[in-house]
Amino acid sequence: MSLSLNEEQMMLQDSARGFLQTKAPVSAFRELRDHPDKDGFNRQLWADMAAQGWAGITIPEQFGGVDFGYTGLGLILEEMGRTLTVSPMVSTVLMGATALNLGGSPAQKTALLPKIATGELIIPLALEETRHHNPEQTSLRATPVDKGYCLNGRKVFVLDAHVADTFIVLARTSEKNANCTGLSLFLVDSDTQGVTVERAHMLDSRNAGAVVFNDVTVSSESVVGEIDEGQELLQSVLDVAQIGLSAELLGISQQVFEMTLSYLKERKQFGVHIGSFQALQHRMAQMFCQIELCKSIVRRALNDLDAGHDNVSIVASAAKAKLCETVRRLTNEAIQLHGGIGMTDEFDLGFYIKRARVAQQTCGDYNYHLDRFARLNGY
């Protein structure tokens, strides 16, 4: 498969860029941050994005989607990284829809995927319990009861928690042993008795929260995939998530790099443009190379997903680690090369470093993925 974009993909990229830059530029994000409301995102904008087909970008046509593939989703996420657009795209399209696409029963798909595609349903994964991504150590319990399960425990860092309609909850259904990790995934509506959501305010001004499950009972039909065998499905979903987040980080990296590059051509000190200083030129040139590497590994990872390759876990961790490394360096350097103005809230740069750190942590940071990469490669 070619690593260049085809015509359709380039058209999607152009139209996504055009759409986001007119309807959801960074100023819209600033507006949202300065005037927080109960939703924390713009519902009209989300409806417009869904009308573009974005909410159903990876959903098969029979379930109301446009089935454009992961490369398409990646291109949109990349553009959203450039404009810092807040929407349920990550929680619901990248993660929720993927879980149902890959592991949902026909009934679950029929009931839920069309609603995701229209933008009606917000359906995040409720995954994390501790301060570091570590799904295997899940302790939230789901115990069998009459015709279903009863859930008890607490999840944190759940994206879009306070606006979610349904959660896909990772729970422990039996002890870990040599053959299985004893994990399962459950669909839980947010208005089910016993579910409480605590909204959290994160540094990127986006939506996340903690969700408490207190004797929450769900039916057997709520299980996504096989009981006790949720680990494999979860890993496939997380591979997609990591690649999608890498695409978003790529957008952030490029935007921050371009902002810095223009500043170096504008700002004068000692009577010359600061971009003429070789100490700064070399740092920019090195970062340019890093971005080119990042573009390639993200493109390749998306390609592998679309081609259905079976080694995506390795590539997914490689991409996430590479992007985490690069975006950390780029955002830090960007502030340094802007001098004092880079530190001001009035300037947009701060938004990017904040969003980057959250996306870096989501579904495993640099260290997690370097370690996973080594493990998957047998060392």
Binding site: S2, L5, V272, S276, A285, R299, N377
Partner: protein
């Protein structure tokens, strides 16, 4: 598509039949490489046979036109040939500065007579070339070069000296940058000349490297007469040609970023696992970081090729490839030293493989210098790609 599949099938079949078994073993020593030349030294019959068979088909230069002995293959076919060679782990039939550097220049700037005279011998490995660019006073600032070529009617008279000339003592011919106009600005008085290293007045002195080997030389030119027909392109317009050649040289050097040594396998062997993890946790991290960069780099080479095919050229890629590919290669050797511990310190003797590893490690330091230093590549990226001002 069908035609390409057919081509792959035939190529695979031909390679199975024609690539000698010895030529599929890993390269261990310098004389495993075949450089051809007028007085070639072949390590064994297989090496000679492999060169003959490959060059017979023009497959030492798969994409060059058939008219001058090349393979006449399309980009897609060349890629298939490359993949099939990799598949059977075939050694390159011929290493050659003629193929990597001079050939592309002659194809673009050479006269028909020059193409007919020089290219077929490059394809067949009959003439070995060296690169006369750097001088004692002109390295990074190459355009300040001082070797003079004076117009003497029917010939040029060349005087001066070149340094760091790789394999200068083994080469049959040299492609050489010379000053043909002293009065003009430095970039506008340079010409590109070809001459025979056996010409009267040419002497060479080998220079030993820190690796203990002596693959490069200083060249001295003392009233060397070069026929006028050996000028490539126009007089005083050699700088453009020089730069064009450098882009090819840089891509070639950058390619070493993709050599396939599995560091994790090597580490498992030399260091071992505990609880399925390398016993040295820091090395484990370093190897992962390196391997991910290596993946991203080879994806970038592939993306650049795919985008070029689709008409979406990246631009100034050769500097990026040169810079990053050589950084990777140097890191690879540093990691190999860490992995192999005190074994990597052995310099002589069979038990240390005659010091091949530390010698190669030392040689790799030159990667960031030869073909234009890393700093020069970063300057080029900053100015040409990023458009940062000089002031």
């Amino acid at each position: 598509m069908l035609e390409l599949d057919e081509f792959r099938r035939e190529t695979r079949h031909w390679l199975e039949q024609n690539c000698p078994a010895e030529m599929r073993l890993p390269i261990r020593e310098e004389d495993d490489d075949c450089w051809g030349g007028m007085y070639p030294t072949f390590k064994n019959e297989a090496q000679e046979l492999w060169l003959d068979r490959m060059s017979e088909r023009g497959w030492t230069t798969p994409a060059w036109p058939r008219s001058i002995g090349g393979g006449g293959l399309s980009k897609e076919q060349s890629e298939i040939l490359h993949q099939e060679l990799v598949r059977i782990k075939a050694r390159p039939a011929l290493l050659s500065f003629g193929i990597w550097m001079l050939g592309p220049v002659l194809l673009k700037y050479g006269s028909e007579a020059q193409k007919a005279r020089f290219l077929p011998d490059i394809v067949r490995g009959k003439v070995r070339w060296c690169q006369g660019y750097s001088e004692p006073g002109s390295g990074s600032d190459l355009a300040s070069l001082q070797t003079r070529a004076e117009d003497r009617g029917d010939h040029y008279l060349v005087n001066g000296s070149k340094i760091w000339t790789s394999y200068g003592d083994k080469a049959d011919w040299v492609f050489c940058l010379v000053r043909t106009d002293n009065a003009a600005p430095k970039h506008e008085g340079i010409s590109f000349l070809l001459f025979d290293m056996k010409s009267p007045g040419v002497t060479t002195k080998p220079i030993t490297l820190i690796s203990g080997k002596s693959p490069f030389s200083q060249l001295f030119f003392d009233d060397v007469r070069v026929p006028k027909e050996n000028l490539v392109g126009e007089i005083n317009r050699g700088w453009e040609i020089a730069k064009y050649l450098l882009t090819h040289e840089r891509e070639m050097i950058g390619d070493m970023g993709t050599q396939s040594v599995s560091l994790s396998e090597l580490a498992k062997e030399h260091i071992g696992l505990r609880n399925d993890m390398l016993v040295d946790p820091i090395l484990r991290t370093d190897i992962s970081r390196f391997t991910i960069d290596e993946m991203a780099f080879s994806d970038t080479l592939k993306r650049a090729a795919d985008e070029a095919k689709a008409g979406q050229e990246m631009g100034a890629v050769s500097s990026m490839f040169k810079y990053f590919g050589t950084e990777l290669n140097m890191s690879r050797f540093e990691l190999m030293l860490s992995v192999t511990g005190n074994y990597s310190l052995g310099w002589e003797g069979e038990e240390f493989d005659e010091g091949n590893l530390p010698r190669a490690w030392l040689r790799s330091k030159g990667n960031a210098i030869e073909g234009g230093t890393s700093e020069i590549q970063l300057n080029i990226i900053a100015k040409r790609v990023l458009g940062l001002p000089s002031e």
